[in-house]
């Protein structure tokens, strides 16, 4: 069958239709990432880029403790943010799926997603107002006479970064868990209780395992993007709370060292991908049949 004939079949017309978005993603995502890979093996030579192949950028990342330290801190922050976000989100998703009337479910989801769509920069900045020296929490606690001196450990450090990111990514965690919980056949829970399991053991032996696909999706959808955020660490982290994305941004926009920045971005992405793959692999038995 020739290409021209294939294009008139159902499958062929579908393939033709998908071509524009596919080519767009190819041109603006795949090829640019290929360029990043190339650049990471080149070096910045004052104003020009030296295009001879070298591992110098990667050697510098390994040798200078600042890069490995930032990378380690970033992975740790992303990991904690993911853990906190998913643990806090699960009961909310569970409540909406199991206890809210079906007609009110979309209203709840709508309320949960609204804060996510409002100006990210201003939302991050407002956490500064909440956690700051004269902020909501401190003036509240001092006013109530609980503490004498404003707390200083909640702003300009890693804690503040974690709180702010956990807030920003909350809806991302709730939605996939909710979808997985909705798919659970409710008669399975009844069967479990008919067979003598208590409500608690039913949760751990039936509900939780069946919601694992949603939990895994929630973990990935929070963990992967948080590594690329430089706004929150810049505004909330102070000197000791900077992350790898800040360094990538500095290399590109201030130090004009695109090759080193490219290598840093790739190393960060490879680490995140590797950790994600290991995580999915560990949870393989829960994801079977999906």
């Amino acid at each position: 069958m020739g290409l021209r004939e294939y294009a008139t079949t159902e499958g062929g017309r579908a393939a033709t239709l998908v071509a524009p978005p596919f080519l767009y993603a190819l041109a603006l995502l795949a090829l640019p990432i290929l360029a990043v890979v190339l650049f990471s093996f080149w070096t910045q030579d004052f104003m020009t880029v030296d295009t001879s192949f070298t591992l110098a950028n990667y050697r510098e990342i390994l040798d200078k403790p600042i890069y490995t330290m930032l990378l380690g801190r970033s992975l740790m922050v992303s990991g904690i943010v993911t853990l906190v976000t998913v643990i806090l989100a699960f009961p909310v998703a569970y409540y909406v799926s199991f206890h809210v009337q079906p007609s009110k479910k979309s209203l709840w989801l709508f309320l949960i997603t609204i804060p996510f769509w409002t100006s990210y920069l201003i939302r991050v900045f407002l956490w500064k107002v909440i956690l700051g020296y004269n902020g909501v929490i401190n003036s509240g606690l001092v006013g109530a006479g609980i503490i004498d001196e404003p707390l200083s450990f909640i702003l300009y450090n890693v804690n503040a970064v974690i709180i702010t990111l956990a807030h920003a990514f909350a809806p991302f965690a709730i939605l996939p868990i909710f979808v997985a919980l909705e798919k659970i056949d409710r008669s399975l829970l009844e069967a479990s209780q008919d067979l003598g399991e208590s409500r608690v053991t039913t949760f751990f032996r039936v509900t939780l395992p069946l919601s694992m696909p949603g939990l895994v999706a929630a973990v990935l959808i929070v963990f992967i993007p948080t590594i690329g955020d430089y706004v929150t660490p810049e505004l909330m982290g102070g000197a000791g709370g900077k992350l790898i994305a800040n360094m990538i941004q500095t290399q590109f926009l201030q130090l004009n060292n695109a090759p080193l920045g490219a290598a840093l971005a790739l190393v960060a992405m490879v680490c995140v991908t590797a950790i994600s793959l290991v995580f999915v692999g560990l949870n393989r038995r829960w994801l079977r049949g999906r």
């Binding site: 998908v18 360029a35 479910k105 804060p115 100006s119 807030h167 909350a170």
Partner: protein
């Protein structure tokens, strides 16, 4: 249902946590003090008045609106192609191709920003302008458009379009006269969502913006000047109100689209 009640209390507290920062916005936007802290001083509208006379801000707002409108159109067009193809017959590699187009949804934004910056500046040697931001925003908004439009296209009965063609319409006019009106609510919803994402996006815009910054990039600059902060609060109040209004409209059309396609609403944009 005691268990349900304590879970319900937790869910409400969680909503309070989600909304806490946003509730503060109007408080400080109308507060008569240059310092963003408690206690509040008194009522004023001067920060809103200062907004209207700020020429640089209005210029950045115009840039952002232009970028957001263009992004909404392009992302929705690409999203319609992918969503319709997804609802049609199988072809080799279909899953992989659609998955690849959805990839920006889970990619760290800084990767998109960095890779496009390298291609535009270093490889092609182009100057950055609004169109470089539009290109990137279209890339990251297309997956959202596909997710919304999937709901509209997937549940469409193909026999309706076939009936139109049997009655003598061409393939294109059958699509235009039968399918398009049915998926129109999804299209409007997709455009509004893409518009909202683009208007608010900072991480990529900061890398790719040209000599004229977008509004979030301009706000980022303001955040460094304490005297400008109340103005930022006023601006934030307007933006939040605007996006809530847009989202309510988008949600209304999304639900109408679901009702038109005759499916049960599972809720949520994603």
């Amino acid at each position: 249902m005691k268990k349900g009640r304590s879970l319900g209390t937790y869910a409400v507290l969680y909503l309070v946590f989600l909304y806490a920062p946003i509730v503060l916005l109007p408080l400080f936007a109308f507060n008569d003090a240059t310092i963003i802290a408690f206690p509040l001083k008194g009522f004023t509208t001067q920060w809103f008045e200062a907004l209207a006379t700020n020429a640089a801000l209005l210029q950045s707002l115009r840039n952002s609106l232009f970028i957001a409108v263009m992004t909404a159109i392009f992302a929705t067009l690409l999203g319609m192609c992918a969503a319709r193809a997804g609802a049609m017959a199988e072809f080799p590699g279909k899953k992989g191709i659609i998955g690849f187009v959805m990839l920006p949804l889970v990619l760290p934004e800084i990767i998109v920003a960095v890779s496009l910056l390298i291609v535009l500046r270093q490889v092609l040697g182009l100057n950055l302008n609004n169109w470089s931001v539009i290109a990137a925003h279209t890339l990251i908004c297309t997956p959202f458009s596909i997710a919304i439009l999937n709901g509209a296209f997937q549940n469409l009965d193909p026999s309706m379009e076939e009936a139109a063609m049997d009655l003598g319409e061409s393939r294109w006019s059958a699509f235009r006269l039968v399918t398009l009106p049915l998926v129109m609510p999804g299209i409007i919803s997709s455009m509004l969502i893409a518009f909202t994402i683009s208007l608010d996006e900072f991480i990529i815009a900061f890398f790719l913006t040209g000599a004229n910054p977008t509004m979030p990039v301009y706000i980022w600059g303001l955040l460094r000047f304490p005297a400008q902060l109340p103005v930022v609060m006023a601006l934030g109040t307007i933006l939040v109100t605007l996006s809530v209004v847009l989202l309510v409209i988008a949600e209304y059309f999304r639900r109408r689209g679901m009702a038109r396609a005759g499916v049960k609403d599972t809720g949520g944009f994603l």
